[in-house]
């Protein structure tokens, strides 16, 4: 098995799916000769030509809307939104159109579109190139929202998204792109959408996370193990619809739960996770359900001390985990 970066996993998934199925194509801003501003589509135009790797005009609602039309026709578009922050002009197309096509047509039409968007901060991207916008879409039946944290999951989930017959929003933490490396099998494989994954088994406390902060939790768990505290770490992977069973099992196992995400706390995905636990396994709990999240401010500022203030770190997560363990 090769060790590759998170972004290489993304590129591989697209490349392999494009080879496998002629109805798969890529569209977005600068995805062609530039290979994407993060280089996720690097090499694709050379292999598949500009007919299947389309540099679109600068208009996100059209990127989504045109992809939706093509998907309804029977293609499998992968639309790239350059930064998740810019998905907001496409909300109407994603939420009112893609997510509702199957339902509103009583199963006559469907919309197998994948929309990729890099989210998250820690890259000096400031207010508008760092946002975690996932919570805006985790209340939309008809839509699936995925946010992998490892190269293995990224590749397998992106393939699953492309093959899915319903619309999938695929969020990639941009700080993971080059920072996170991992083993990825050579052959074709798919990771099913809708299932969370235990990334570390443990007995004392449960940490539930996704994206970059999942890695912080794993690093902190490593450290805590030295102190004799054993942490169970669940990677949500799919943010909508949530894998309720996995959440309940993971929470019940230790009775102490910490939810960690980079997005603002109030109204973030963690709220729903906590609510599921409080509804289904309240009496298994030995401590209040804690959340460690980004501060409730409009977005991540640019200036280094401010960005640092916003971002979670393995240390901040460790501290919260330790506190919970000693509760």
């Amino acid at each position: 098995m090769a060790v590759i970066s998170f972004i290489e996993a993304i590129t591989q998934a697209m490349q392999e799916e494009m080879r496998r199925d002629p109805s798969v194509f890529v569209m977005g801003e600068d995805v062609g000769v530039r290979g994407g501003v993060f280089r996720a589509t690097n090499g694709l135009i050379e292999e598949f030509g500009e007919g299947r790797v389309i540099d679109t005009p600068l208009a996100e609602s059209a990127i989504a809307g045109v992809a939706i039309g093509a998907a309804a026709y029977g293609m499998r578009p992968i639309a790239e939104i350059q930064f998740a922050d810019f998905i907001m002009t496409a909300v109407n197309q994603i939420v009112n159109e893609a997510a509702k096509m199957r339902y509103r047509s009583n199963n006559d039409w469907n919309c197998p579109v994948t929309i990729r968007a890099p989210f998250g901060g820690g890259v000096h991207g400031a207010l508008y190139h760092s946002q975690s916008v996932e919570a805006m879409f985790t209340n939309i039946p008809g839509l699936k929202v995925v946010a992998p944290s490892t190269p293995y999951d990224a590749k397998g989930l992106l393939k699953a998204a492309i093959r899915d017959n319903d619309p999938v929003l695929f969020f990639e933490h941009k700080r993971c792109y080059r920072l996170i490396k991992g083993e990825v099998p050579d052959g074709d494989y798919v990771v099913p959408i809708g299932r969370a994954d235990v990334k570390r088994e443990g007995d004392d406390i449960t940490v539930i996370s996704y994206g970059l902060t999942l890695h912080f939790a794993l690093q902190a768990a490593e450290k805590l193990a030295e102190e004799g505290i054993s942490a169970h770490v669940l990677d949500l992977r799919t943010l909508y619809p949530l894998d309720k069973e996995a959440i309940i099992t993971a929470a019940s196992k230790t009775g102490k739960v910490l939810i960690v995400h980079e997005d603002n706390k109030e109204g973030g995905v963690g709220g729903e996770v906590a609510a599921i636990i409080a509804e289904h396994c309240l009496f298994d709990l030995d401590a209040p359900i804690k959340r460690l999240c980004g501060p409730d401010i409009p977005a991540m500022p640019y200036s280094p001390p401010l960005e640092k203030f916003f971002m979670l770190t393995p240390e901040k997560v460790l501290e919260a985990m330790r506190e919970l363990a000693y509760f």
Partner: protein, 333 residues
């Protein structure tokens, strides 16, 4: 039957049978629509949104398309258009009554939210103009798959102010896609008149901004609409790209069954518009051109009446969807 100089349809490439068929669809749409208003006022259907006044534009346009391969991304007034493409009076009434058999949505959507995969009518929604980028996407897909298809999308003049119109039209312009942007300019967006909607004079003025032709025509004349559309369809099939057609019409009734148009337009204005009602006008033409006589006209009226009656009765007695079926089809199963 001698062709008089008043015969314009032959010159436009339409046979006598075709113009009779056009009239039939216009009339059928009108009568279905009128019946829905009656049913609404009788408390039997919760909502109506009308095509009344726009039948000529819709039928003229639909006849210029290939009903075996072209795609429609219509808007909520396009009742006459979807009839031409294959939907029936019964389908429309099932939709009005929100019954399980409604082919558009199984009763999930309001009437006017058309969609039928078998007729290549893309499922539509309420937020206006979202269908415009969809039409462009279908055209892009067709081009990728080297299919000879044209995509037709329609919308109101007020809706041409939405960002999605601009973004979709430009995308089609860049890729020279076979899309026809068809604006049914009925002079009002609910209560808001043209002068408060459009910075420009004509919606067709916008086409230049996307690099393709734009033309404004009399939407009350189905032959003029047909001719203009035919050229646009040919352009599209020849790979020359999109066309924007603005068909000027008038909405003869309130915006919907929830609206009261007396608050924003005078009865005189509406009466004046009624004088240009495309249906009697086309009937008169057909008679002048010697294609239809009194008897044919009456037979047609009866046939339509019978269809509407049958459809209403069928739909009224058809079953509603099961309550729990509301949970179905959120995702593929």
């Amino acid at each position: 039957m001698t062709k008089s100089t008043r015969n314009r349809h032959t010159a436009a490439g339409l046979t006598d049978q075709q113009v009779l068929d056009m009239y039939y669809y216009m009339l059928l749409a009108r009568r279905i629509d009128e019946r829905q208003w009656l049913l609404n006022r009788a408390g039997k259907v919760p909502f109506v949104i009308s095509c009344q006044g726009q039948e000529a534009a819709q039928v003229g346009a639909a006849f210029a398309l290939d009903r075996q391969k072209d795609y429609l991304c219509p808007y909520y007034r396009d009742l006459a258009m979807v009839l031409v493409f294959g939907q029936t009076a019964r389908d429309c009434m099932l939709s009005a009554f929100a019954k399980a058999e409604d082919p558009n949505s199984g009763g999930r959507q309001m009437p006017g939210h058309f969609g039928s995969r078998k007729y290549r009518i893309l499922t539509g929604s309420s937020p206006v103009t979202t269908q415009v980028p969809h039409a462009v996407g279908i055209a892009l897909a067709g081009k990728m798959q080297k299919k000879d298809l044209v995509v037709f999308t329609s919308f109101g003049e007020g809706s041409s102010n939405q960002g999605d119109f601009h973004e979709g039209a430009n995308f089609a312009g860049v890729h020279k896609l076979p899309v026809i942007f068809f604006c049914e300019n009925n002079k009002y967006a609910i209560s808001v008149p043209l002068a408060k909607q459009l910075g420009c004079e004509r919606v067709s003025d916008r086409a230049a901004g996307y690099g393709f032709p734009g033309i404004t025509i009399d939407g009350n004349d189905p032959i003029v609409v047909y001719e203009t559309m035919k050229q646009a369809v040919e352009r599209a099939r020849a790979g020359e790209g999109p066309t924007l057609i603005e068909a000027v019409t008038y909405r003869l009734v309130p915006h919907s069954s929830d609206d009261d148009d007396r608050t924003y337009r005078t009865r005189e204005e509406v009466e004046d518009a009624r004088k240009k009602d495309p249906i009697p006008r086309f009937a008169a033409y057909l008679k002048e051109a010697g294609v239809m006589d009194e008897q044919m006209e009456q037979e047609m009226a009866q046939r339509v009446q019978a269809e509407v009656d049958e459809a209403t009765e069928y739909a009224e007695n058809a079953p509603y969807p099961m309550p729990e079926s509301a949970l179905d089809h959120v995702y593929e199963r």
